[in-house]
Amino acid sequence: MTDEVYQQPSVQEISGLLRNRFPGKVEVTGTEERRVYAKADRECIHEICAYIHDCLTFEHVTSIMGNDMIDRMEVIYHLSNYFNGVMIELTAEIPADDLHIRSVADIWAGGNWHERETYELFGIIFDGHPKLQRLLTPDTYEFYPFRKSYKLRGQE
């Protein structure tokens, strides 16, 4: 199935297209000038990202970050378009007992290190990542320092 390629999709177009293409999987939570906020299902994050990259020409991943909400984890993608400066904020929620999500490093090579960083700081495992190893912290670390359960000295 080939989709139409939009080089400079407007914010309305993006939210409409995302809703139509992935019904029930993507929920557009809000739009602003040049900003689209959406929630995505983690099971099909790779297809959504591939669609956004190929058909909406979001060539650049600004950041991939993790967020610990104690009862669940979040992986937040910020994707940007180089033709009109639109950014999509894509949030995928992960239950705390199953920290797995599909890697998007094969779509955007720039996401490679972001995913490694998220893995080492939050313990979220990116399936299909080419080299999922610790990057900033020493290899011998056995804990994930940015989780809320990891307390700093004097914070207890």
Binding site: H60, T62, M65, Y82, G110, F146, L152
Partner: protein, 381 residues
């Protein structure tokens, strides 16, 4: 012409089978401006594989911020990058303002733009100095540092510190500026626009400098974009994108400037983009000074903001001297952030060092990596 040169270099790799050798450059190495390591696999003089290693400076910046009240993070944001302290502080304040949902006064916006551009000029001059030493010439280093000193002086007059400026505040800027400062700054900028030609003629008119940079570190537009390289390095590869123009923050849409874009995709075009950005920054500074003068002396420059940020999420991005930087703030309604994420441009740019240096000579590695303009404080955070 250009592409043929590149093909020549890449085709030279190995007609004879020799043992490959891993050379570990860093963390204490003259070419690594800061603490990072480049493991390079050499076949004779040609780099066949490379792997960057970072993390020597990991301070847990983001975790640390979760322990501090909002104003106390501003001096910390200064220390993300020693050369671009102003932009990071600006970015942090912008993010918090977005979470608060307030719009700061016009004068503060222009002052922030001006401070940003001063920061950009001094950061680029530092980069220029580093290019000089990486290519083996100390004169460029010292001349660029001399020019940088004038902008350091502007910083001192602006906010009392040379590098860790601590100037923007949530809701505005730290202090007002006076007539004397504006006069001094415009004079400095005008002087600089003439003086920088000395350095340019030392580099661009010297065939050694040009031939060292031309044709090295070549990337196509698609690879460059996919690798996530941002900033001047990206604009040298033909990507016509600048957050200041295409996604304007503060008052960048009200000043007139040009975004230099070159299509060659080698180190020399990255170099040229940065040099042109110096001139454009001078233009922006001059325009903002006029606008600040027009706004008037008694206009507000700092809003009083609540100490607690309402629960919610906000992010802002801005054009750092080195690329696109972004901060993402998750707030839970207290006076401390729940999570603060920094997207640093160098973190992604350095991850692209393997495709950048692959196939070039070991002598070109410093020149290619100099065009990334490493700064490890923001990379490791």
């Amino acid at each position: 012409m250009m592409s043929r040169d590149v093909i020549d270099i890449k085709a030279e790799a190995s007609a004879i089978n020799t043992d490959k050798m891993w050379v570990i450059m860093g963390p204490q190495h003259p070419f690594s401006h800061g603490l990072w390591t480049l493991k390079a696999q050499l076949d004779g003089e040609i780099v066949t594989d490379a792997e960057p290693i970072i993390g020597y400076l990991h301070r847990g910046w983001e975790k640390e911020c979760e322990n501090r009240t909002y104003p106390k993070i501003i001096p910390m944001a200064d220390r993300l990058c020693y050369a671009a302290s102003m932009t990071y502080t600006h970015l942090y304040c912008m993010t918090v303002e977005k979470a608060l949902g307030i719009d700061i006064p016009d004068k503060a916006k222009y002052m922030r733009i001006m401070a940003d551009e001063i920061c950009r000029i001094q950061s680029h001059l530092m980069w220029l100095a580093a290019v000089g030493t990486d290519l083996g010439n100390l004169t460029v280093f010292l001349w660029a540092m001399r020019e940088r000193e004038f902008f350091m002086d502007i910083n001192v007059r602006l906010c009392g510190a040379r590098m860790t400026t601590n100037f923007p505040r949530i809701g505005g800027v730290r202090n007002d500026i006076d007539e004397e400062f504006m006069m001094y700054t415009s004079r400095c900028v005008e002087r600089f626009e003439k003086a920088v030609w000395d350095i340019i003629s030392l580099i661009d008119d010297s065939s050694i400098f040009v031939s060292r940079m031309k044709g090295t570190g070549y990337l196509t537009r698609e690879t460059c974009v996919n690798l996530g390289i941002t900033g001047p390095a990206m604009r040298g590869n033909g990507v016509d994108f600048d957050i200041r123009r295409d996604d304007p923050y503060d008052n960048y849409d009200k000043v007139d400037f040009e975004v230099p874009v070159l299509n060659d995709g080698d180190s020399y075009s990255r170099y040229m983009v940065r040099i042109e950005e110096l001139f454009q920054s001078c233009k922006i500074i001059k325009q903002t000074l006029q606008k600040i003068k027009a706004i008037g002396k008694n206009a507000p420059y700092r809003l009083k903001v609540p100490s607690k940020v309402p629960a919610g999420r906000a992010f802002a991005r801005l054009e750092d001297p080195r690329g696109e930087s972004m901060m993402y703030l998750v707030s839970d309604g207290t006076d401390k952030p729940y999570r603060l994420k920094v997207r640093s441009p160098i973190f992604v740019n350095v991850s692209a060092s393997k495709p950048l240096v692959q196939g070039s000579r070991i002598a070109d590695v410093p020149a290619i990596m100099a065009m990334i303009d490493m700064c490890l404080g923001e990379t490791d955070r």
